[in-house]
């Protein structure tokens, strides 16, 4: 499948009072057209920052290096104007908290219409018609009436749907999602995920979905990248990574979350805590917490290495994970 987005060696450095912090440290991945990639990790791992580099939404005191190739063009090299044009039309973003991302003083439908007017150049009345249409498509009942509603008059799920309508209004090729359903009820989340999956199918839309919820990624995405301490530690198809994880962090994570579909006796929590990101020494960042740690883990660089068909891992002892799964499979019925 044609490659749509490629992130190469993305590094984001933030100057803090205590030193330089690398929020994103050499992250590389690619997304094909019509494909959904999940970017998972816990808070502070750098997944949200990575997402923001794609659109250049990095605060001024941070420096970004690396390349972000969208349809072959490096977005980080362009100047601001060209980026903005690309932003609105081909790449759009859905945020976690729709209350802060929507203009409180403007009617919801008007905001969608405005996005259409600016980005597609369609006139007022036509933009309005398209906006109402979009609202219906994303499942907002009584769209005509809801067009005139202000964001605070809508529920969380409705607001998120308005955001999605805005995001897809200009027929983007890539939608960046920053934990869009974390704050929503599970039944509403299901509806939102359905909308995204439908868009992906019908419009050949690519999705980059950032979340900490592995189950959502398992349902929505074809591929997944697991981040830890500002680096990607494992990447591959959802099937491969979740059924046959080849990084101890991924395995640890899978064993520590309560799984609805499979009741476990105790959850195996990963001991310790993620490291601080101020000039970490070159070593495997997970090694202090790793049950399979060996001497050669403490020094060196650990880039992602292919270990299977569309399955890369940064762990040099990934076969230990294979052994661990044999007696105790991750997926029920394996």
């Amino acid at each position: 499948m044609a490659e749509l987005l490629r992130v190469e060696d993305d590094v984001v450095e933030i100057r803090t009072r205590r030193g330089v912090l690398r929020a994103v440290d050499g992250v590389s991945f690619s997304i094909a057209a019509g494909e959904a990639l999940g970017l998972v990790g816990e808070s502070g791992c750098g997944k949200t920052t990575t997402l923001r580099t794609i659109l250049g939404l990095i605060p001024r005191h941070a420096t970004v290096s690396g390349r972000v190739l969208f349809e072959g063009e490096d977005l980080l090299a362009k100047n601001g104007d060209a980026m903005r044009r690309r932003r609105g039309k081909a790449i759009s973003m859905i945020f976690q908290e729709p209350m802060t991302a929507l203009n409180q003083l403007m009617r919801a439908g008007q905001q969608i219409a405005e996005a259409i007017e600016i980005n597609l150049g369609h006139g007022g009345r036509e933009a309005r018609r398209e906006a109402v249409d979009l609202m219906r498509r994303v499942g907002i009942p009584d769209a005509e009436r809801r067009y005139r509603a202000y964001p605070h008059e809508l529920s969380g799920g409705m607001r998120q749907r308005v955001m999605i309508a805005m995001a897809i209004s200009c027929h983007p090729r890539l939608v960046l999602c920053d934990e869009p359903t974390t704050a929503l009820d599970v039944t509403v989340q299901e509806q939102i995920l359905n909308i995204l999956a439908t868009m992906q199918r019908e419009e050949d839309l690519s999705i980059l979905y950032v979340t900490h919820d592995l189950a959502v990624v398992a349902e929505l995405c074809e591929r997944v990248a697991v981040m830890y301490a500002a680096q990607i530690v494992e990447i591959g198809t959802v099937d491969e990574v979740f059924r046959r994880p080849r990084h101890p962090y991924t395995l640890g994570l899978l064993r520590s979350i309560p799984r609805f579909e499979r009741v476990q006796e105790t959850l195996n929590a990963i001991p310790g805590a993620p490291p601080h990101l101020l000039a970490p020494p070159p070593c495997c960042r997970f090694h202090p917490r790793c049950p399979y740690v060996e001497d050669d883990c403490r020094h060196g660089d650990f880039p992602l290495l292919p270990i299977g068909d569309d399955h890369d891992s940064a762990c040099i002892h990934s076969e230990r994970c294979v052994e661990a799964i044999v007696g105790d499979p991750v997926m029920p019925g394996d």
């Binding site: 205590r18 310790g272 805590a273 993620p274 601080h276 101020l278 970490p280 020494p281 070593c283 202090p288």
Partner: protein
């Protein structure tokens, strides 16, 4: 992600990757105060002013009440740094000793309104309903009158002198504290740790004093620094109107009043006391600003 303490104790963590040490308990007010530029600036300015006023006897040989009718309205000289006024009294001495008077009264005058206002605000905010209504109606009554009108009326009724000033300012001044504290308490009341305290069965006094008050009092303290400025102005204004500290006790307000007729000739008579008020005000404002930064628990 910066520094988190390990969730499971006793881990063999590689020393290079140890999380940053947990911020020590001492990383509070005492070690951080010098980092706030406003606070330091404020302290310095006030320190200088208060220091000078306190060391007045060392800084001037003259008494602020000693008249010398042979040397009235002298311009600044080596002997009289700021000259003399129309009664021959050294202006520099008046400035220094007047500062003592005004600053002392202003700082003291803040205390009682602070205590009364905070207490009533706490009770109104915590108990709500009848108590709240009662306190707020009293607030409304006081607030209905312009500040100076009420103060002047009260001082006029009670009679000149320090006592009158304290009483008047207290009656008028508690209102701001009450409102501020009440507002903060209404918010703090909803915090989970207060709910935890309530569900743990703590009585209202303990909750108010131990849990609510320490978290709301910073706003009151910061306001107090601004209030001192307002009180200085009030005292000075009263002095200007002849209702303040009676002569011959030195007072910036009266200095301004006396000096204004000589603005074209000996302008320093009225200007320097005014400047003193301004600089003190700036110092207090900076102090309050710095305090509000430092007293936040983060």
């Amino acid at each position: 992600m910066i520094a988190v303490a390990p969730d499971n104790a006793a881990q063999s963590l590689s020393p290079d990757l140890l999380p940053l040490p947990v911020a020590s308990v001492k990383d509070g007010f005492r070690t951080r105060w010098y980092r706030s530029r406003s606070f330091v600036a404020g302290i310095v300015i006030l320190g200088v002013i208060i220091g000078m006023c306190t060391l007045a006897p060392l800084l001037t040989p003259f008494s602020p009440t000693q008249q010398d009718l042979t040397h009235v309205l002298q311009p600044p000289s080596a002997q009289h740094l700021l000259g003399t006024d129309q009664l021959g009294i050294d202006v520099w001495s008046q400035l220094l000793y007047g500062g003592r008077t005004d600053l002392r009264i202003a700082f003291l005058a803040v205390i009682l309104p602070f205590i009364i206002g905070t207490t009533l605000g706490c009770l109104a905010g915590y108990y709500g309903r009848a108590v709240d209504v009662g306190v707020m109606r009293m607030v409304d009554i006081v607030v209905a009158f312009p500040f100076y009108v009420l103060v002047i009326a009260l001082v006029f009724a009670i009679g000149p002198g320090e006592k009158g000033i304290y009483i008047a300012i207290t009656i008028v001044g508690w209102v701001s504290y009450a409102r501020i504290v009440r507002g903060e308490i209404l918010v703090a009341k909803q915090q989970d740790y207060v709910l935890a305290a309530r569900s743990a069965g703590f009585g209202a006094p303990r909750i108010i004093v131990r849990h609510l008050l320490p978290n709301v009092i910073t706003q009151a303290i910061v306001f107090a620094t601004a209030d001192v400025v307002l009180d200085i102005l009030a005292i000075v204004t009263l002095g200007y109107l002849g209702l303040g500290v009676p002569p011959p006790i030195p007072d910036w307000g009266r200095m301004i009043f006396n000096g204004q007729q000589f603005l074209t000739t000996q302008w320093q008579l009225a200007t320097f006391p005014g400047l003193a008020v301004v600089v003190t005000g700036i110092g207090l404002a900076l102090l309050g600003d710095g305090l509000s930064d430092l007293l936040r628990p983060e």
